[in-house]
Each structure stands twice: as C-alpha cells, then as structure tokens.
C-alpha cells in the first residue's frame, strides 16, 4: 500500500470541505489540512444548524418539547421520540401499556430500517454510485407510507406520547408491514447484496479503510454501528433492555474488522434483525389500551433521571432534571453522531481525501442531530 509522505507545514494547504459540499450531507464543515490528496489534519467545524433545542425544552412544557425531538435526527425520528418519552415517563413514574410498547417497537424498528436504507443510498452516493439510492428509496417509500398511515406524517413523526402512543395501529398497517417484510427480504439479496455488497469496487474502497479500533471507540464514546463495526457487541436494546426488547429474540450484528466494510455490514445485518423484531412483535401483538392515564399537565417530582435508547446511529440519551414544575429544569440530549464524529479527526489523519469521505459516510452522520 502507498504510505503517505507527510511534508513540512508550509507545503500543505487548507481545504474547506463544506459547509456546502455534496458529501457532507447537510451543513457540516471539515477543515482539512492537506498534503496533496493526503489529509494531514482534519477538524470538523460544527454548529451551522444549531438551534438550541435544550433551551427550547426549558421554555415549554414537557409535552411541548415533543415535536422538537424528531427534528434532531429526522431520519430516525421515532427513536428520539422514544428516548425523550422514556425519560419523562421515568421521571414521572408512568407505566406504558403493553400494546403501546409493542406498537412503539414496531414503528421504531421500521424507522430504523428506513434510516439504514437512506444511509445505504446516501453512502453509495458518497462513493459515486447513484442508482442504489433510488432502489433504497423505493423500499423506504413503503416504510414512509406505512408510518404515514399510522402517524400522519412522513418524516418528523411525533407519534409517541407520555404513557403510550397517539393512535392505535390497524389491520391495514399490520398486513402492510408483513407485506413489506416479505418484499424487502426478497429484494435484499439481489438489489442490495449482489449489486453493491459483492461489488469489487465497493469492497476495494471499504475494506481496510478507516480502521477504528475498539479503544478509539471507547475513548471517544462512539456508539451504535460504529462501535459494533469495531467488534464490540454493545447495543442498548440488549445491554440496557428497555421497552419489550428483553422478550424478543434478535442478534446484535458485530464485525471485528473495524473498517468501513464492517460498519457497512453491521447496518445491512441490522436491517435483517429489525425485520425479525417486527415480525415477532406482529405475532405477539397484545390487545388493550395504547395510552396510559396521564394528567394533562405533567409535573414530575423534583430530581433527575437518565434514559437511553438505541437510535439508528447509536445511543441517544436524555438527562432530564425536573424541579417539580411543569417545565423541564434542564434537558440534556446526548446525540450519538456528536460522539461518533468526534473521532473523525483522529482516524482521518494520513488518509486520502476520497477515503476520508467514504469513512465519513460510513459513520452515518446526520448534522441536525450533531448540532441540535
């Protein structure tokens, strides 16, 4: 392999990648110090879409912050919805009915698949393959239709409520979901794996590129597929079971290689696992109410609590501090990509520009979620 020959600082130049660049998926800016095509130093510059969600939370009631959560990670909005709901439910001691938990799991897993599908398409777009994006969108469209049917919106779902969900699901949704599972399973081998996963160009571009060791992950607090791509079997759904996940049978895909290909494979396998989870939930779906009795104005007792969920990109957690008022005293939102991106500076050193962009794509960044 070619080893980068790093030269003296006065021979380098600074390349501003972004805030508007086709590969940064939004308004991320990476200040690259380059030596020819090699990166000497990479410094992500954030904050271009910072909206101060945490202050907004302090200014409204608990329920009023709800519509903000999907706006952070608009690709797996329901995970964020769930994380916030869980924090408030924990603080206020609300029990969620079983059926609501099942519905939450089904929808959140559908959302995870749609997020991974979009990532897959966008990642291939980073690598210069345009067609897979459209194939992924074809399948994703089915999920969006299903979720629109129950939640009423297509992207920034605000579907969960403290103590349940907004609306019950119906037969049309369950049959539609089953059809979708069948359809995606039939499409996965050819359109996804034959076309892309097995492609020699993709393999050559991803294998042994962007190696992230488990130590680096731990140092920077990386979670989600990035961590699992480094061989650590950590998933909040298994390690810190919430909702009905302990009752479900699913695996945590993890690959020890730690390169971009491992992260790619983790996500592809996760789609399959999510399908399994949805299938089990649909089989087990109990009856009953979907919303617990919750006072209209919520006033959790003073104190703080913590809740973490596995979003599509990693651990999303909320630290909620209440002072007995109807507004949160402080809400800290720990978004996964913020930590996942923070290791980029370290791994990008000495990498080719093209590889660095591939690695950045493999981290699956959603900028509004980083900037919050």
């Amino acid at each position: 392999m070619t080893e980068p020959i790093l030269c003296t600082p006065d021979e380098t130049f600074v390349l501003n990648l972004g805030p508007q660049h086709p590969a940064t998926h939004g308004v991320l800016r990476v200040k690259l110090t380059m030596d020819g095509e090699y990166i000497v130093e990479a410094e992500p510059v954030l904050g271009y879409i910072h909206r101060m969600h945490e202050k907004m939370a302090e200014n409204g009631t608990f329920a009023q912050f709800m519509p903000n959560t999907p706006r952070m990670d608009y690709l797996s909005a329901l995970s964020f919805n769930q994380g916030y709901c869980m924090a408030v439910e924990r603080a206020a001691g609300i029990e969620v009915p079983e059926r609501a938990e099942y519905i939450r799991t089904i929808t959140v897993e559908l959302n995870r698949i749609s997020s991974h599908l979009l990532w897959w398409g966008a990642f291939l777009l980073d690598l210069g393959g345009f067609t897979p994006l459209l194939y992924a969108f074809d399948d994703r469209e089915k999920i969006l239709d299903l979720l629109e049917h129950v939640t009423g919106s297509r992207l920034t779902y605000c579907y969960y409520r403290f103590g349940g969900v907004y609306n019950d699901i119906d037969d049309e949704f369950t049959t539609g979901t089953r059809e979708f599972i069948k359809r995606l399973r039939s499409r996965m081998p050819s359109l996804y794996h034959d076309l892309v996963t097995g492609n020699i160009i993709l393999i050559k571009r991803l294998r042994d590129i962007g190696h992230i060791s488990p130590e680096v992950c731990r140092k920077y607090g990386a979670t989600g597929p990035v961590l699992r791509g480094s061989g650590i079997e950590y998933d909040v759904r298994k390690n810190e079971p919430y909702s009905i996940y302990p009752e479900l049978d699913f695996d945590i895909p993890h690959y020890p290689e730690g390169d971009s290909m491992a992260r790619y494979m983790v996500r592809m396998d996760e789609i399959e696992q999510s399908l399994r989870i949805i299938e089990q939930c649909l089989d087990k779906l109990p009856g009953g109410p979907v919303q617990a009795k919750v006072p209209k104005t919520l006033k959790p007792p003073a104190g703080d609590c913590y809740a973490a969920v596995e979003a599509a990109k990693g651990t999303f957690s909320c630290r909620l501090i209440c002072d007995g008022d109807k507004k949160p005293y402080r809400l800290k939102l720990r978004s996964p990509c913020f930590s996942n991106l923070s290791l980029f500076g370290e791994i990008a050193e000495g990498m080719l520009l093209a590889d660095a962009l591939a690695v950045m794509g493999s981290l699956d960044l959603v900028i509004p979620e980083i900037d919050r």
Binding site: F13, P22, M34, L125, L134, L352
Partner: protein, 338 residues
C-alpha cells in the same frame, strides 16, 4: 480521390452535425437511461419524451453569463472548454462510418485519434489548473495520472489489433473484419487461430475499461468525482464553459464507441453476411456501446484514485502486454504452419 471542394464541405457539415447532435442528445440519452435503470422516467416535460430538453438546457446555458472568477488565468480558463471540444470533433475525421462514408482516409488514423485524445486530457488539466480552485487542482492532478496510466494498456491492445490486421488505418482494419461476426476481432473464430479467439475478448475488456477511464466516465470519473471534488475541473465553470466540457465529454464517448466498434466489432459490417452491411450497422453498434457506457455508469460506485492506478499498472498493463506477446507468438506460429 475526389478532389471536389464540395466533398470536404459536405463532410465538414456532416461531421459537425453528427458531433453536435450527439453531444447534445447524448445528455438526454444518459438522463433517460439513468432514469429507467433507476425506475423513474427522466426528462419528460420539454417536448415529447423530453426530447427538447437538451435544447432548453442549451438555451439556458448560452443565455448565462460566462463568469470568469477573480484570480484565474484568464486565457487558459477560456481556452480549456474549447480544447475539450476540438480534439473530439477532429477525431471524427478519421473515423470510417462505412466503406463510403468517410471524411478523410488517413493512413495512420489510429495514431491520429490517440494523439488527439491526449490533447483532450489537456483540457481538464488546463481547466483545473486555471480555475484557481483547490478542488479543480486536485482534479487536474488526478486526470493526468489517470490518463497516463490508462493510455498505455489501451495502446498496447490497439497494437495487438494492428498486428492482427497489419495496418494502422481504421478503414483497413474494418475491411479486414468484413463478412459476418465470426470475423470480428472481438471473437475472431475465422481468420485467426483459435487461441487468438480466446484471448481477444480479454483484450476487448481491457480496451473497453481503458476507454471508460480515458473518457473520464464513472466508475473512473476521478476528475469530476462529484461527491469528493464537487465538480472537479468544472467547479468554477458556468454557462457554455460548462456546456462545452459536458459536450466534450459526450463526444469523447462517441469517439470511444466508434473506435471500439471499428477495432473490435467490424465497423459497418453486418453480423451475418446475407444482411447488407452499411452505415446503419455502424451507428447501431456505437449506440449499443454508448448504452453500455451509460449502463456501467449507473451501476457501479466510483473507484478511488490509487485503486484505479493499481488496476491499470498491476492488472491491465501486464495482461495487455501478455496478450500482445501471445498474439505475436500466434501470428508467428501460424506463419510457420502455413
């Protein structure tokens, strides 16, 4: 040879029209092709099937201001797009469309086309350098190394063909392949030894790969590399400057397809002897090849510059040299045997 003044003028008009129409409508073909591969329609609003879309695009590009950013090398910046077009059009002169439709029979037409193709690369180099943009500069550097790497295997495979045909005249090469598809150099069952027939498809693959790389098409679009270099050498270009680059790219594809058709698919020869040969066959072949170009572009992800160079230096060049050697041996053996 007909020395009437009308012949050059007619051919000039003919070649220009062919080049112009192709340069404009291949964009439409590409968009339609991409659309259908991706299960969508592609352009459809302007004219029937969106056929007038290139016209609309052209009008739009022409009415825009040709912006020359501050700090660029003014002359080179303006020359580069023109340089992208000229060699491609000029190459058309040497291409035999059929036994009769031929602008100018040139003895060394193969050499001429390759010489012109190298000038085409200069356009990217100049455009990238003159733009005073870091992305463009990287693109320029990439395109040079890429073109150097891929011209070698391409020329070596062409030498194989030249050895088989004994001529560097494209017309002569095409004439040698007349009389049915088994005479074509892609799969020359007749006329050559069987062993030759086995290695020629590999030779074709090498040549085709190289022509994809030479024309800067995906998956080898290192120079443009949208998701890395924004638009590479075209980043700073707007209006017709950009338009000319695009047209140059499509014309290069046409030239590449023409060359492939002549070298490997018997030029204007019909696949079966009882069907009359003619210019239509040639056009059909080049459009089929262009469709493959489009098909490839919308199937694969982009390679990375070092992988690309590895492919050339470690795989294509050794293989093409081996084929060249084998061909020489086969020809010699045949000579001894007969």
């Amino acid at each position: 040879m007909d020395t009437s003044i009308w012949r050059p003028i007619l051919y000039l008009i003919g070649v220009m029209a062919f080049a112009g129409v192709n340069a404009a409508w291949l964009g439409w073909c590409e968009r339609k092709g991409a659309g259908h591969i991706q299960r969508r329609i592609g352009p459809k609003e302007v004219g029937p099937f969106g056929l007038l879309q290139p016209l609309a695009d052209g009008i739009k590009l022409m009415t825009k201001q040709l912006l020359v950013p501050q700090g660029v090398d003014g002359i080179l910046f303006r020359v580069a797009p023109v340089l992208a077009m000229i060699p491609a059009i000029t190459s058309m002169v040497a291409i035999p469309f059929s036994a009769t439709v031929h602008a100018r029979p040139i003895e060394l037409s193969v050499l001429l086309i390759f010489a012109l193709a190298s000038i085409g690369m200069m356009a990217i180099l100049l455009g990238g350098w003159a733009s005073n943009n870091k992305y463009s500069l990287i693109s320029a550097a990439r395109s040079v190394s890429q073109n150097v790497a891929y011209e070698i295997p391409m020329l070596v495979t062409v030498i194989t063909i030249v050895m088989l045909s004994g001529s560097m005249n494209l017309e002569e090469i095409a004439l040698q392949q007349q009389g049915g598809f088994w005479n074509w150099y892609i799969f020359p069952i007749a006329g050559q030894s069987i062993a030759q027939a086995v290695i020629m498809p590999i030779s074709f693959l090498i040549f085709f790969t190289c022509s994809v790389a030479e024309t800067n098409r995906a998956p080898f679009d290192m120079a443009e590399a949208e998701s890395e270099l924004v638009a590479g050498h075209m980043t700073e270009y707007g209006s017709m400057g950009f338009g000319l680059f695009m047209m140059g790219e499509y014309l290069n594809i046409v030239v590449g397809a023409c060359l492939t058709a002549v070298l490997f698919f018997g030029g204007w020869d019909s696949p079966l002897p009882f069907i009359p040969s003619g210019v239509l066959w040639f056009v059909l072949k080049i459009y089929l090849l262009i469709f493959i170009f489009i098909w490839i572009r919308w199937t694969y992800p982009r390679t990375q510059i070092y992988k690309l160079l590895n492919l050339s230096w470690k795989i294509l060049i050794p293989f093409s040299l081996a084929i060249l050697l084998l061909t020489a041996v086969f020809i010699k053996i045949e000579g001894i045997l007969i």
